[in-house]
Amino acid sequence: MSAATTAPDRPPVATPSRRPRQRPARPRSRASTSLTVAMVLMLAYTLVPLLWLVMSSTKNSQSLFSSFGLWFGNGFSFFHNVHEVLTYDNGIYVRWLGNTVLYAVVGAGGAAALAALGGYGLAKYSFRGKRMVFGMVIGAITVPTTALAVPTYLLFSKIGIVNTPWAVIIPALASPFGLYLMRVYALEAVPDSLLEAARIDGASELRTFFTISLRLLAPGFVTVLLFTLVATWNNYFLPLIVLNNPKWFPLTVGLSQWNSQTTGPQTGATLDLYPMVITGSLLAVVPLVVAFLLLQRYWQSGLAAGSVKQ
C-alpha cells in the first residue's frame, strides 16, 4: 500500500480538545448490582484457569491426577516442583529464562526506543519522504508478522544468523504499531513552543530530545515498551523456526518442548514432566503480570492518550 492510498483510510478522529476526563469528578450514580454480577462472572472466567495453574503447581503428579483442580492436593510440592524445574537437565530452564530476558530487554527495549525516536521524528520534524515513511508504516501494521516468519528464517539462514540470538532480536526491533502510537503520543504531549524555546536557548536537537521531550513522552514510551515486551516475551512462532539449539530457546519454546516430551508417543509414560510444565508455566507468567501491575499508572494513561486516536 502506498501513502496515497492509505492516508485517507484512517482519517484522524477529531482530537478531543481536552485531556481525558478524570472519573472522580463525575457525579457518582448508584452502583448497579446486575452489572457488577455480570462483571464478577467475567472476572471469574479470566481468573479460574490461573487459579487452577497456581493450585496445580503445588501438586506432585499423583496428586495432580487425584485431587480437585481448584484446591490444594495431598502434600505441598510447590517448592519441590520449583526446584525440579530449575535444576532439570542441568538447569536448562534458568538458561531459557535468561534467554527470554535477553530477548525481551534487547528486543523489546530496542523496539520501544526506536519507536520513540521514530515517532517523535515523524511528529515533530518535516523532511522529504515523510508521508511515504508514514504510509509504509501504517501499511506494515497490517502485515502479519507470523506470515513473515518462514521467509525470515530463509533469509537469515542465507546470511548465517539462524540459531543465534540475533535471529530473534532483529525481527523484534521493528514495531510499526509502536511507532504509530508514539507518533500520536508525541503530537499531543510535546508542545512545539517548548522545542522552539529550547532551540532559541541553543540546545541541539538531540539534547532537546533527551533532556526535555523524553520526559514528556514517558507514559507513551512505557506503554509501547510493555506491549513490545509482551510481544517478545510471548513470542513463539519465530523462535521456534529460527532456533533449533535448546541453549538459545526462550521459555515458550522450551515449555512447549517439555510438553511434547511428556505427552509425545516416543517417550511413553516413563517421563513425567507434567508438574514441571505446570510450575514452569506459572514461573514464566509471573514477571509480566508483575510488570503490568507495577506500571499500571503509566500504561493506562499512555493507552488512554495514545492508542485510540487514529
Binding site: 472466567y45 484457569p49 488512554a304
Partner: protein
Amino acid sequence: MLFVSPFLLAFAFAIAAPLLYAAYLSLFRQGLVGGNVFVGLDNYSRALSDALLHTGLIRVAIFLAVQVPVMLGMALLAALALDSGRLRWAALFRIGIFIPYAVPAVVAALMWGYIYGPRFGLVHQIGSDLSIPLPDLLSHSWMLASIGNITTWEYTGYNMLILYAALRSVPYELYEAAEVDGAGEIRKAVSIKIPALRQALLLCTIFSIIGSFQLFNEPNVLQALAPGVITTNYTPNMYAFNLAFNGQEYNYSAAIAVVLGGVTAVVAYAVQLWTNRQERAL
C-alpha cells in the same frame, strides 16, 4: 530524519527484506539436482487448487466469523460496564480481566489444554462430580471451539481496555446533554458511546482478523495433546510451517506465506471500506 532512520533500518531488515524475499522465492521451485528453477506463478496456481490449504483457510474463516464477534461483544460490554460509573470495584475488574493478555499464548494453550484434557482436566472433574457427561473438548468436533475459547480468554481484556480508553475520550458535555434530554444509561450507551467507538472497534476488528488468519501458537501447542485431531494443515500458518520444516518445500511455503498475507490484507481492507461506507450512509 535522524530520529527516524534507526527505525527504518530495523524495518528494512525485519519486515521489508523478508517480505520481498518471500515474494522472490515464491517464483522458483527447487530443482531436483539442486539450484532453483524459475517457474513464474506456478506455486500460486498450485496454491489455488490445493485442497489442504483450502481446508485450513476455511477453518480460520469459520473461526474468524464466530470467535471475533463473541470476543469483541464481550469486550464491548465490559468496556461499557467499566465506563458506566455504576460498577463497584471497577479498577479490580479492569486489571483482572486484562491479566490474561500478559500470559504467553503458549502457556495459555498448555494450561487450557490440561484443563480440557481427559486425564486430570478440570472440566471432566467438574463433569463427573456433578455426574454430567461432558464431551471431550480435545476431540475433532470440539477442537476449534476449544481454541476459540483460549483466544477469547487471552484477548477479551486487551480489547476491553482499548475500547474503554476510547470511551474515556468522549466529551463529557455529550452525556450532560443526553441526560438533560432524559436519556438513561442504556440509551446513552446505544446512542453516544457505541457510535463514538466506531474507530476503536474497527481497529480491534482488524487486529482480530489478522490474529485469526495467523492462528498458529494455540493449535501447535495443542497438537502435542491431541495429535490425531490437529493435522499438519490445521491452519494455513501451520501448513506453511510444516511445508517448510518437515517437507523442505521452502518455495511453495513462501508462496503460501504471500497468499496468506494477501488474503489477510484484502479482508482487513474490505472491513475498513465497508465501515467507511456505513459511516457515510449515516
